[in-house]
Amino acid sequence: MHDARLNPPRRLKDILADELFEAIPFNLAVIDRDFNVVQANRSFERHFGDWRGKKCYMVYKKLNRPCDDCPSAKVFAEGKVVVAESVGVDHSGQETHYIGHAAPLRRTADGPVEFVLEMTRNLTGARSWQQQYQVLFDRVPCYITVIDQEYRIVRANEAFRENFGDVMDRHCYEVYKRRTSRCPGCPAARTFNDGRVHRSNKIGTGLRGQDIHYAVTTSPLGRTRGPVKHVIEISNDVTAIKKLEHNVVEAERLAAVGQTVAGLAHSIKNILMGIEGGKYIVSLGLKKKDQTMITEGWEMLERNFNKTTTLVKDFLSFSKGRLPVLRMIDPRHPVTEIIELYKEVAGRSGIELRADLPKTVRKAPLDSDGIHTCLTNLVSNAIDACLMGEQKGSEVVVRLTDAGGKLIYEVVDNGSGIDYEIKKKIFTTFFTTKGGGGTGLGLLTTRKIVQEHGGKILVESLKGKGARFRMEFPRKRLMALLKSGNNIDADIKE
């Protein structure tokens, strides 16, 4: 029960005097000039333990002598507030980080400082986070740097320093690439500009002059709006992966050489077989004085000599490592040319060859000779397939579509089709089912040209139901090829 007469309401000043000391969420302690703790709040006691009759250094740090750099001594001497961060020992013996605010207490306004009020706040949690963050920053297995608006490195992690040396305050382009000016297509510049994340693949130079391949991500430091003051660059070292990729390419190249040599040997074996046969039939004819036989054998010899010529020509054109020469052309042109070229030949064999083209189509960067070669190969294959098939009313359609950002050429026939076993092999060097008619390089050359354009070639076929060869060229890639000229160091756009 509250009785106002027995307990009159306190004035605010009294409330503060009575309770503020306990209510403030800090550890409070008052010490005298001899460093005796003369008063402390419960929060202080909970944290540092019993204080009564003890010196402050005994309580804060569990020491037997005053601290070397005592902030309170300074307050007694200078009469001003001192703020300092310290490491002490708490009641349970654990290390504790705290920030202390030491203020002078006087009995009169101009009197001497008789006591110091020490307000300390525990920072142990924050400091341990900070330490963990520092360890993370240093030990994370990628390079991290922070650069300012002048592209100077203001922070760098351990991994970065190990590979690039002492880098503080140096320009990032100097450190990463030994350049004297900013790199072209700098992703950090874009981040400073638009405040967004950017990525890029680069090759830098390490401390020992070695190439370091890295994939860098730049992002603004901090999440506030307004101009970006610092950019954090996080780079993954992909040198080892690049090396592996290189090894794989090399291994594939060697395998391809092996395959090519085996294929070449096979082609030559076939030709030798023809020559062997021609030789034999000519000699039989001579023995029997049979003119028809001699002619037959001689023709065999001639055919196989010609095959050698074709083989060598195809072989050379395949091995020629020419990069596509891209020009902005109407993608319909090569189709029209091929139709004109083959229409008559096809017609003579009862095959209808026709084009299916869009009414309008945007120009695209293509190597017209290359596309011409591809279409020639596919159309002549299609005609051969129709000749081999048993169907009547054979037709070959060359179709161009421009949809979904892709230019697509299709050569569709309703000829003999390709069965599964052969489909697995059609892109193999020198594989041919045309008997004497092919060298087995046509589709391989076609695929090579398509790949050089950044495209891909697909085949759909069921035996006896014709085939559809499809060459897809993403317009984006064609444009990128045109701009950069096959640049591996090209930036990856977001």
Binding site: N270, M273, G278, Y280, I281, E296, G435
Partner: protein, 173 residues
């Protein structure tokens, strides 16, 4: 040669030059010859008249040699027809698995292109169990030995080959 007469050989190969070559050699040796340019045509010919032996290429359009052989052996009567393989793909990825399947399942003899007429005829006569001249018998044996050696060398690992070479060198010293 007299016994060759009356025996019919079916030559299956997609290359006209090869067909004509083998036909000339066979006719010269006194055989009757039927030609087929792929597995389908070959099956048609077998249906019309069962040959005494089939000379078979492996890699052909429409129906490959292996597929043809699979169908051939489904028929009990046809399965007995001896087959010899004449191929250019004996040792590459395109033909190797087919050849293995065929040599395991029946035809024991294969000839690798380019073939010489004498080897070809000798191999055919031997397969048919016909009388051969001493020279022909010797040739056929040589062909078989050659094939066996080729297979062994193809399957051997380089280390073993190295050891063999060392052994031979030591003996020759």
């Amino acid at each position: 040669m007299a016994k060759s007469a009356g025996k019919t050989i079916l030559v299956v190969d997609d290359e006209a030059d090869v067909r004509n070559f083998l036909r000339a050699a066979l006719i010269e040796a006194g055989f009757n010859v039927i030609l087929a340019e792929d597995g389908n045509a070959a099956l048609d010919e077998v249906r019309k008249k069962k040959p005494d032996l089939i000379s078979l290429d492996l890699v052909m359009p429409k129906k490959s040699g292996a597929k043809f052989h699979r169908e051939l052996t489904k028929n009990k009567e046809w399965a007995k027809i001896p087959v010899i393989i004449v191929t250019g793909h004996a040792r590459d990825d395109v033909g190797k698995s087919d050849l293995k399947e065929l040599t395991m399942s029946g035809p024991g003899i294969y000839l690798e292109k380019p073939v010489k007429p004498t080897n070809y005829i000798a191999a055919i006569k031997k397969t048919l169990g016909m009388d051969t001249t001493e020279e022909e018998a010797k040739t056929a044996e040589m062909v078989e030995l050659q094939n066996d050696l080729k297979n062994i060398i193809d399957d051997a690992d380089p280390e073993t080959l190295k050891k063999l070479k060392e052994l031979i060198n030591r003996k020759n010293k």
